[in-house]
């Protein structure tokens, strides 16, 4: 065993969960445990380009019932960099297309002796159904508009790396909060680690009810921009909307797109984030997306470290 691998021989005592289904139920200590582990994996694998084989002989199944590029590849790479094998599953052309339930599909995959399942599904709660039905570890890779815990974690990790701590920071999530799983995971994670969260977007997509959870709600980006340490620009999820919640994309961009003019009012060290995929010219203009304040690609890199940490923690906890 290499020195780096020896460091990961035992998981921290604070982590006892077999599954990672959401950030809402995690304690600040558990969140910090994942972030710390992600930092260590990132350092130990030299920005994720080397292997650290602490899950050799284990198998991860990627169950993607919804399209994905970066999350799926990120989990696959994370598993392989930990020495695990991966099984890839897509709903198109699969038995679910023939009418099999998601639970039966998962049970069949589990019967092939996999140690963990990563699931993405359009329906909130699907990972919970799986967690009740299978014995292996289950990691939520996005369940409809509910949560996307590893995305939330990689966002938070990126902020923590840049700022050292979340305590006292003001983080605005801008855009389609109603349909955003990234927003929901960010809200819980950021608040638990001490950040002030502002939700900003059209009133049809940002519910006032969030104030009941200690979150600030704003409808004008220009009103809050000066106070923000971080802006996380969320994509408009047209595919999840029954009716158009604002008159036009042009009007949305006018009111909420992060552009050069708005950057003039922002703090000097503001971080610009986006979970991707980004729609250039809608939520963010190209000069800002590619500008010096943007950490969008760092988020992607951190995604692998976060997922290595999550797989290491859950697969080892599940094996106990």
């Amino acid at each position: 065993m290499t020195a780096a691998a020896a460091e990961f021989e035992k998981i921290p005592a604070v982590w006892t969960r077999r599954h990672l289904l959401d950030l809402e139920s995690l304690s600040p200590e558990e969140l910090t445990c994942i972030l710390d582990a992600a930092d260590r994996f990132k350092a130990a694998t030299d920005d994720c380009r080397r292997k650290i084989s602490v899950l050799t002989g284990r198998t991860l199944a990627n169950l993607f019932f919804e399209n994905s590029t970066r999350t799926r590849n990120s989990f696959s790479l994370a598993a392989r960099r930990l020495g695990a094998d991966t099984v890839e599953f897509s709903s198109s052309g699969s038995s679910t297309a023939k009418g099999e339930t998601v639970i039966d599909t998962a049970k069949n995959i589990e019967a092939m002796n996999v140690d963990a399942m990563v699931i993405r599904h359009r329906t909130p709660g699907s990972p919970y159904l799986l967690a009740k039905s299978v014995d292996c570890a289950v990691v939520n890779a996005g369940d409809g508009p509910h949560e996307h815990p590893t995305q939330g974690l990689l966002d938070i990790l990126t902020i923590r790396q840049r700022r050292g701590s979340l305590q006292g920071l003001t983080v605005a999530l801008v855009g389609d909060i109603a349909h955003s799983r990234t927003a929901r995971s960010n809200i819980w994670g950021l608040k638990k680690l001490g950040a002030h969260v502002i939700l900003c977007g059209p009133a049809t997509l940002v519910s006032r009810r969030w104030e009941e959870f200690g979150v600030e709600v704003a409808y004008r980006l220009d009103d809050i921009i000066e106070r923000c340490d971080v802006l996380n620009l969320l994509r408009i999820q047209f595919e999840r909307q029954y009716t158009r919640p604002f008159p036009s994309v042009r009007e949305y961009a006018l009111l909420y797109a992060m552009n050069r003019d708005r950057m003039r009012h922002a703090k000097q060290d503001i971080l610009i984030m986006a979970p991707g995929p980004i729609n250039r010219g809608v939520e963010i203009t190209p000069d800002v997306a590619d500008g010096p304040h943007s950490v969008i690609l760092e988020q992607v890199t951190n995604g692998i470290a976060v997922r290595m940490a999550v797989l290491w923690l859950t697969m080892n906890a599940a094996a106990v």
Binding site: E24, T101, V102, I103, H121, R122, T123, P124, G125, S126, Y128, L129, D143, G144, P145, H146, E147, H179, R181, R184, S207, R209, W210, E212, F213, Y242
Partner: protein
């Protein structure tokens, strides 16, 4: 016809304002006397410590046959009714094809007779194929024996159609039983829209979807003078709308499903499709408004909302799983546990909402349903009011065991269900 003597029971008949310990004699399918100690040749049931009530009547049962026999059949659904203490059920046309012709009414009636369990009354469709576009042949349906008209959970979106239905049904003196829900506002929803749906990211069914339709329905009832019963009230504003309407003297009745004064939307945090119901489980303030509505008489009836669904249908993800629960066997215990035991309703008031009030809505009082009057049909439910038991869906008589109440401890249950003088169910 053999005689039946029920002795020592606490006889509660809300229709007569009667509540006393006495005996009751049944002969030739009818109640013939009280205060009898002995009757030659009579079968005797000792109901000491129990309540002797008029047979329970349900306004909202889905029997699923024809066409959806994987969920329920007329035989299994009526057996479930008996086990739940119901002597009479009115079945909604939630079938495939829907009950929109005289022959389909006849089909259900014949199957119910063949099953030989409880009394079954048929509710015919308001519109052809429950599509909400054209009136069904209400006259033919009434002629064939339909006691009311409803499109079930297909809420009628066309104000014009509902207006015509309310007017036209006056000719037959039959009520329209309507489920108020604006589909435009609740489309895609799987649960109550509120704080919990916000956190879970689940599509919501806002209470306003119910309220705007309740408001419209009330206005059309006033305008037409028709007979409207609002089937499933679950929101606080709708309760208030009905209350104010009744104060104005408008003839209108309304009901609530037992589950809607029992559980809240917090249960959806489990993402369990057994909690996917329509009307949805709402937040605590709405639940309390429903209980208040029952207390002050705004809500006349308590329905089972029996909507059995085969387990393979409920095993799906929340957005694919159908709405509904099997509930004929759990409604009476919920009334006792949630309303009577905490002191919200006394026994007589609670039983009125399960017996005489639904009988009046369906126009069954001429046939003497919902009462223990001398000369009435001998439909009687004997209830053990104190027994504590745990709901176990594997013991259901219903073909489907989809319930969000599995494992819940409840108080009270029917021990005997007597239909037309014959003991059809004994626990």
């Amino acid at each position: 016809m053999p005689k039946l003597l029920i002795k020592n029971g606490r006889l509660i008949c809300p229709d007569q304002g009667l509540d006393r310990v006495t005996s009751l004699l049944v002969e030739d399918k009818r109640i013939i006397a009280y205060d009898i100690d002995h009757a030659d040749g009579a079968e005797v049931i000792d109901a000491g410590g129990k309540i002797v009530a008029p047979g329970l009547i349900d306004l909202h049962t889905q029997l699923r046959e024809p066409g959806l026999e994987e969920d329920e059949t007329i035989e299994s659904g009526t057996a479930a009714a008996l086990a739940g203490g119901y002597t009479t059920i009115a079945c909604l046309p939630e079938t495939d094809p829907p009950i929109d012709t005289d022959s389909s009414v006849e089909f259900v009636r014949q199957k119910a007779v063949r099953a030989g369990n409880c009394n079954v009354y048929v509710i015919g469709c308001v519109s052809k194929n429950r599509e909400g576009k054209e009136l069904a042949e209400l006259g033919s349906l009434a002629e064939a024996g339909a006691v009311a008209f409803s499109d079930g959970l297909n809420s009628i979106q066309s104000s014009e159609l509902l207006r015509r239905a309310l007017e036209y049904s006056l000719m037959f003196d039959k009520p329209i039983l309507h489920h108020p829900e604006s589909i435009e506002l609740s489309r895609g929803g799987v649960m109550h829209e509120g704080k919990v749906s916000l956190v879970l990211g689940l599509a919501g069914m806002p209470p306003e979807a119910e309220d705007v339709m309740t408001s419209r329905d009330i206005r059309l009832t006033e305008a037409t003078g028709g007979r409207l019963h609002l089937l499933n009230i679950s929101s606080s504003v709708s309760v208030e709308l009905v209350r104010r309407t009744k104060l104005r003297g408008v003839k209108l009745t309304a009901g609530v499903c037992a589950i809607n004064f029992t559980l809240t939307d917090e249960k959806l945090r489990s993402f369990d499709s057994h909690y996917k119901l329509n009307p949805p489980l709402r937040s605590r303030d709405h639940v309390e408004a429903c209980i208040a509505g029952l207390k002050h008489g705004t809500l006349d009836c308590i329905s089972s909302g029996h909507a059995p669904r085969a387990s393979e249908k409920k095993m799906q993800e929340l957005d694919l799983a159908p709405f509904g629960m099997s509930s004929l066997e759990t409604t009476l215990p919920l009334v006792i546990t949630q309303l009577i035991e905490p002191g919200h309703l006394d026994w007589s008031t609670a039983l009125s909402k399960l017996t005489i009030n639904p009988a009046k809505v369906l126009g069954l009082t001429k046939g003497s349903k919902g009462t223990l009057r001398i000369g009435a049909d001998a439909d009687i439910t004997i209830i053990d009011p104190t027994t504590r038991w745990t709901i176990d869906p594997t013991q259901f008589k219903s073909k489907s065991s989809n319930t969000p109440l599995a494992g819940m401890e409840v108080i009270g249950r029917a021990t005997h269900t007597i239909v037309c003088g014959e003991v059809k169910y004994a626990a």
